[in-house]
């Protein structure tokens, strides 16, 4: 395939009884107002991924628009994290993983032999489900990435800027030398976001960034995601439908490793075209 499948037709296949019937993995994804290749910062094309013999992603194609928030939703085990981690080649760390298909970023196939995954991860940052600050000071946590890159500019200014963007500066400006582990869970997660932003990536991947946090911290981070998309492209995995609705511009729904439907978030939530998407967003889904 050279262009993403574009089909705004409602899917008419008989997939109404999920679980009762074997799932048809070869159906095309339903797309509403698809993002063109020119507007995509990352373009996933016909991407397959296996853990050993188990195929976790089937022919996934998805264009991710620049400076927007794309949400990945779907039931547990459908491959959201796998797809997310494919974008910055984190899956390379698992020896049994095999892939085919392409993920292009600025016209470069990230899975080409000529590409260094370490460099990919400097451009595509990641925030994990559980806050994972290093057992270092707040400052050293944020400065970690810039130091790897032998950052030439003013490191103090960069750390301050990153912490401000992560809406954490006011709370930690007097304890930059204190341990990152001394912060609350929500603060730690914002620290991790600041840390990811300090490497000045183009894209930030977030895998359920608020699932370990209380509602207040969740609010703050959702607000934050809204603000940072001015500077970054964000891809976020979430189990929380309200959250997907609140923070994302576009939403992609996955099921058993297949991209079922994608489109503008309001469309996916108010007017889903695929029966399974509808069942999922209405919470009638396993």
């Amino acid at each position: 395939m050279t262009t993403p499948t574009v089909s705004t037709e409602p899917n008419t296949r008989a997939n109404t009884h999920v679980g009762a019937k074997p799932f048809d993995l070869s159906q095309p994804s339903v797309r509403t107002a698809p993002v063109s290749d020119e507007h995509a910062v990352v373009s996933i094309k016909d991407f397959n991924l296996w853990y050993g013999n188990f195929q976790a992603l089937h022919h996934v194609s998805l264009n991710i628009p620049k400076n927007q928030v794309t949400a990945l939703i779907g039931a547990s085990g459908c491959g959201k994290s796998t797809l997310l981690r494919a974008i910055n080649r984190m899956n390379d760390l698992i020896p049994i993983v095999k892939t085919d298909g392409t993920i292009t970023y600025e016209g470069v196939d990230l899975y080409d032999r000529a590409v260094d995954p370490v460099e990919v991860r400097r451009r595509v940052g990641m925030v994990f489900q559980k806050p994972n600050p290093f057992p270092k000071s707040v400052f050293d946590n944020v400065a970690f990435g810039p130091r790897l890159n032998a950052y030439k500019g003013d490191l103090n200014a960069l750390v301050e800027k990153s912490l401000k963007r992560a809406a954490l500066w006011e709370e930690v400006k007097d304890k930059l030398k204190g341990s990152g582990l001394g912060l609350s869970g929500g603060q730690q997660q914002r620290l991790c976001i600041a840390r990811a932003m300090a490497t000045e990536p183009d894209i930030i991947l977030m895998d359920e960034p608020t699932s370990a946090l209380d509602p207040m911290s969740t609010d703050r981070i959702e607000g934050l995601i809204h603000e940072i998309k001015e500077h970054y492209t964000v891809v976020i995995v979430t189990h929380n439908m309200q959250q997907a609705g609140r923070v994302s511009d576009r939403t992609a729904f996955m099921h058993l490793g297949v991209l079922i439907e994608e489109g503008p978030t309001d469309q996916i939530f108010t007017n889903p075209k695929h029966e399974m998407t509808e069942r999922y967003v209405e919470g009638r889904f396993g």
Binding site: R121, F128, N132, L148, T199
Partner: protein, 313 residues
């Protein structure tokens, strides 16, 4: 709380809930035996410490503390007695430093390899080999140093005495290596996956991840392993007695014969010093210094390990 109700014993017996005398007696006996085991070790420790302290105290009634710590001549077993412990401390430091310079980096390197690079199969083969190394009797290592390593060193470096701290330190490096490696491997592998992913996610290469994330996070465990290794090297006796010699020599030249504190204790203990003589008591004074140093090191390493266990989350 338990209370006593008339007639309850009979009813408890009827349904099998009564206390069983035989079980209680058995448990009491076992408890007492275990207590005795614990007591024996405590009592011996106290007895040893007491006897060292007592003899040391007697020693310092005749020898000035100032002389002991400042004089550079140690000849307590000779006619003309001198009691400056400096040459012995220097000998111990010399051998220990040589052992550490070789053994600590090598042990840490092996640990990093085993924890971060080696496959499961390699790890499973190498770990038992290290344990064998740790189990070689030190007297065998001592003869190995004297008979095999010393000749090689004397060929390579001119002017090396038959007994010298170089050979002893070199062989001792392999004695302390397993200590460093096994403790360091454990602490490196205890660094959680989430921290590794954080590092990789920020664009660290494997080497950068190890030097900037994994080793710093495991640092307290690694330092603890170093301290234990140093403490073991300081207390080691057979290798130094056999390979480094028994002549106390205040020198910084590792080609010369140098006696360590432990080597002197062996010498004095196997010699024909009359009990209660000053020569015999000097043994205890040296033992007290040695004991203090290793005790401080062990406490230090425990302190470090405690910090280490609070490290993550």
């Amino acid at each position: 709380m338990e209370r006593k109700t008339p007639g309850m014993l009979g009813r408890a017996r009827a349904v099998g809930l009564n206390k069983r005398a035989d079980r209680r007696v058995g448990e009491a006996v076992i408890g007492t035996l275990l207590l005795l085991c614990a007591l024996v070790s405590v009592v011996t420790t106290v007895a040893v410490v007491y006897s060292i302290a007592e003899e040391t105290f007697q020693f310092f009634r005749e020898v000035s503390v100032v002389e002991f710590f400042t004089s550079r001549v140690w000849t307590p077993l000779f006619e003309n007695q001198n009691f400056g412990i400096a040459p012995l401390v220097l000998g111990t430091l010399m051998v220990t430093s040589i052992a550490c310079v070789i053994g600590l980096p090598l042990g840490l390197g092996a640990a990093i390899y085993l924890a971060e690079f080696a496959g499961d199969r390699t790890r499973r083969t190498v770990t038992p080999i290290l344990e064998v190394l740790a189990g070689i009797p030190t007297v065998a290592l001592g003869y190995f140093a004297l008979l095999f390593v010393t000749p090689v060193i004397r060929d390579l470096i001119p002017g090396v005495n038959l007994f010298n701290p170089l050979s002893a330190g070199f062989v001792m490096a392999f004695l302390i290596l397993p200590t460093v490696t096994s403790i360091s491997v454990d602490s490196l592998r205890a660094v959680p996956r989430s921290l590794r992913e954080a590092g990789y996610g920020l664009g660290a290469s494997k080497f950068e991840l190890i030097t900037r994330v994994v080793v710093p996070a495991a640092l307290s465990g690694i330092i603890a392993s170093f301290i234990l290794a140093i403490s073991r090297a300081i207390g080691e006796t057979m290798i130094v007695t056999l390979a480094s010699g028994g002549r106390p020599n205040f020198t910084f030249d590792p080609r010369q014969e140098m006696a360590t504190m432990t080597a002197f204790i062996v010498q004095a203990g196997t010699g024909d010093q009359a009990a209660g003589s000053l020569g015999a008591r000097s043994l205890y004074a040296v033992a007290a210094v040695l004991f203090t140093i290793t005790l401080v090191l062990n406490i230090l390493s425990q302190q470090v390990v405690r910090r280490f266990s609070e490290k993550y989350e």
